[in-house]
């Protein structure tokens, strides 16, 4: 019953969207009614999604999708999140968000009605394409043909708090770029429109980028503690796919800054906006078609893959076609100097786009080679580390001073002070790395990170009078964002280069020494939880006879799907993480692997600072 309501309201909202799309010359509706129809369509698709959630919560196994992905034993939260933990449900969430973004735009936009309607029409078209995709290939409301009492259960590694909110966050980011795309296309179609669209595109791209950041960070935090590999980024194809629109979005957000220097390069902005959303769809295609195998592929199906490929070509093709035909003809007089703010922003944009293209090539290269020569190759972490990082290096260096540069001249106030500080800083870092273990990458990373933080703080102190007001935070916002990046770079560098690893074979009661601390193996616990069995090895971390913390590392066994997941035990400290994974057992001797990850917390702190500054940027006028 509930599935029927869901499907019916989805169809109805699709029909409403078709009505919105009918040209004004054929169907003369007042704009008020048109907005009403669009908003009702949003309302209906939300009902549709809520009814899917309802079906999951009540474990309605007459719904085939619920039967395949849920189990009545699951805790309530994973019943709810299970609704988007599968292909069909997640695409419904995607469609729902396209509509919600349109809805929010229709409320908050201050554009002229004419322009507004064009944006909503494009948004409706996107909605329609994905709605058809659901109805014809991925319907979450199919009826289960057999009568069953119990479902097949959700993939255990998805039963995790971080992963529960990871997909909606990521989708809010991806789908947010659909609105950015619509705005860009509308600006091409409606020439002479007010310049408000640039301000609006800035807001919405900032919002989308913020959500994307949060989504990616949650995903990589999950990978950190759930996979038990000691790292948090693996250059996995699926990670790369989310990174591409993220970097492109970052380039877009930066290029939009140039409006303030009154040098808006419309062409470039529109191009980036189209590119961002294209990358999002391309990512969806690569993940969902099953070309790449990963946690995210779910059950893959050739027809779905083809359909998404079609969507990709239609939207991207349409986007770039409109871009070519109607591209803004205004001649841009860029005020390029070596080096002022405009050229810094342009260099940053170029570097980011090259990084995106490199990641793209690296990710699809194995597919290309396999199609052409029928041999399999891998392109993994080492390739990306040795190409993408050097490409981004000059950008990072530039970033430290870019916000302090001027639009008009290439002079920096107190230039000598900056140079002095940089030299002193380099000397200190050099001394530090010379005294410890000299590593070129560690050296470069540390200098960069510290310098970005230092130069940003220096610029803030030199340029603005300190006060504790929101206005003050708004003015120094770009510096705050860059400090976040600096903190993150330090975290990434130190945690990946100075990571220490220990392997032990250990029995209960034994203790081992790790650097300055003692790790005691206390006991083995076996607990029956609601829908899984947990095995935990309890360790205590001691320093000079005081217990710092207990760490529980272990495994979970999920009987429904007969899978085992690793649960790393982590002791978080501001300056280091002690990270333990439990291996196999042999005659009561357990194999454990202990990682000392210094400064990992800096990565997450950096991300939080960046998120904070993106929120400030959104509320900023």
């Amino acid at each position: 019953m509930i599935s029927l309501i869901g499907f019916f309201s989805l169809c109805l909202s699709t029909i409403f969207c078709i009505i919105v799309l009918i040209p004004y010359s054929i169907l003369k509706i007042n704009i008020k009614y048109l907005l009403f129809i669009f908003r009702s369509s949003t309302f209906l698709v939300c009902i549709s999604f809520v009814s899917l959630i309802f079906a999951y919560v009540t474990s309605d196994f007459s719904n085939f999708n619920v039967f395949q992905n849920s189990h009545s034993d699951k805790p309530l939260i994973y019943k709810i999140t299970g609704s988007w933990g599968n292909h069909e449900g997640s695409i419904l969430l995607w469609v729902c968000m396209i509509s919600i973004y349109g809805f929010l735009y229709s409320i908050f936009s201050k554009s002229l009605n004419n322009f507004k309607i064009t944006v909503l029409k494009i948004q409706s078209a996107l909605f329609l394409i994905f709605a058809f995709f659901i109805i014809f290939t991925s319907n979450p409301f199919l009826v289960n043909s057999v009568l069953v009492e119990e479902g097949l259960g959700l993939n255990p590694i998805l039963q995790d708090p971080a992963l529960a909110i990871h997909p909606p966050m990521l989708y809010l980011g991806y789908v947010g770029f659909s609105l950015v795309f619509s705005l860009a296309i509308a600006s091409l179609l409606k020439k002479n429109s007010h310049q408000i669209w640039i301000i609006e595109i800035r807001k919405w791209s900032m919002i989308s980028w913020g959500f994307l950041t949060a989504g990616i960070a949650l995903g990589s935090y999950w990978a950190y503690y759930e996979l038990g590999w000691g790292g948090w980024w693996f250059w996995d194809p699926v990670e790369n796919i989310s990174l591409m629109p993220w970097i492109a979005g970052l380039a877009l957000v930066h290029s939009l800054l140039m409006i303030r220097g009154e040098q808006a390069i419309e062409k470039w902005i529109v191009f980036l906006a189209i590119l961002c959303f294209s990358l999002c769809i391309l990512g969806t295609f690569l993940v969902r078609s099953g070309i790449l195998t990963s946690v995210h592929s779910f059950a893959s199906d050739a027809s779905r893959g083809l359909f998404i490929l079609l969507i990709f070509f239609v939207t991207t093709g349409f986007g770039f076609l409109v871009f070519l035909i109607k591209s803004p003809s205004k001649k841009n007089d860029l005020h390029l100097l070596l080096i002022n703010k405009t050229s810094a922003l342009i260099i940053n944009n170029i570097l980011m786009i090259i990084a995106v293209l490199t990641i793209l090539l690296g990710t699809i290269y194995p597919i290309i080679v396999e199609v052409l020569t029928n041999t399999r190759v891998s392109v993994g972490g080492p390739y990306f580390n040795s190409t993408v990082l050097p490409i981004l290096l000059p950008g990072f260096l530039l970033m430290s001073i870019a916000p302090a540069l001027s639009w008009q001249t290439n002079k920096i106030k107190k230039f000598k002070l900056y140079v002095m500080c940089f030299l002193i800083l380099s000397a200190v870092v050099l001394l530090q790395s010379y005294l410890t273990d000299f590593n070129p990458w560690g050296f470069i990373g540390l200098i960069l990170g510290l310098w970005i933080i230092f130069a940003s703080i220096l610029s803030i102190v030199l340029r603005y009078k300190f006060s504790i007001t929101i206005k003050y935070i708004k003015t120094i916002n770009s510096f705050i964002a860059h400090i976040g990046v600096g903190v993150m770079i330090i975290g990434i560098t130190v945690s990946s280069i100075y990571q220490k690893e220990f392997n032990f074979n250990i029995t209960v009661g034994e203790e081992v020494i790790i650097d300055n601390e003692i790790l005691k193996f206390k006991e083995i616990k076996l607990i029956d939880e609601k829908n899984y069995q947990s095995l935990r090895a309890v360790f205590s971390l001691e320093k000079k006879d005081t217990i710092l913390s207990y760490i529980e590392a272990g495994k979970n066994y999920y009987p429904v799907s007969k899978t085992i997941t690793t649960e790393a035990g982590i002791y978080h400290d501001w300056f280091k993480d002690v990270y333990i994974t439990l291996g196999s057992e042999n005659n009561n001797v357990w194999f454990i692997r202990v990682y000392l990850n210094p400064l990992v917390s800096f990565i997450w702190i950096g991300v939080i600072i960046m998120l904070f500054s993106s929120i400030i940027a959104v509320i900023k006028k």
Binding site: T293, H335, L336, I354, T358, L361, R376, G380, V388, S584
Partner: protein, 121 residues
């Protein structure tokens, strides 16, 4: 004068760090196995994996190093046996030229265009 000294110091450090590279076989094994794909896992390196396959490869690599083989020779041996799929860092060969040169061509091209535009002003 001061600068010259510090530059000399810097150069010394950069060039001497090669000399610091450890001859320790354990380190070499780690470095190499980090760049090998565990063929039975999902996008995991041989070094990070605890699967039987990864253990075998680790043992094999260690033996080869003990026999005195160079990293390149071991890689060749492994690719002959398992195909180039095992390498996370594809060979810099004529076949993979596009993959390796693409980013650097882009960098150089965009740099040239940028410089040209700056000079015009």
């Amino acid at each position: 004068m001061k600068f010259q000294n510090s530059f000399k110091f810097l150069f010394f450090l950069f060039f001497s760090c090669n000399a610091f590279a450890s001859d320790n076989i354990g380190e070499q094994v780690k470095k190499l196995t980090l760049e090998l794909r565990c063929m039975t896992c999902q996008n995991q390196s041989v070094y990070d994996s605890d699967s039987d396959y990864a253990k075998d490869i680790k043992k094999l690599v260690e033996e080869k190093f003990n026999e005195g083989l160079e990293e390149k020779e071991i890689k060749d041996f492994l690719t002959e046996r398992y195909g180039e799929y095992i390498l996370f860092r594809p060979y810099f060969s004529s076949k993979n030229l596009l993959l390796w040169l693409f980013p650097f061509i882009l960098i150089i091209a965009s740099m040239l265009i940028f410089i040209k535009n700056v000079k015009k002003k």
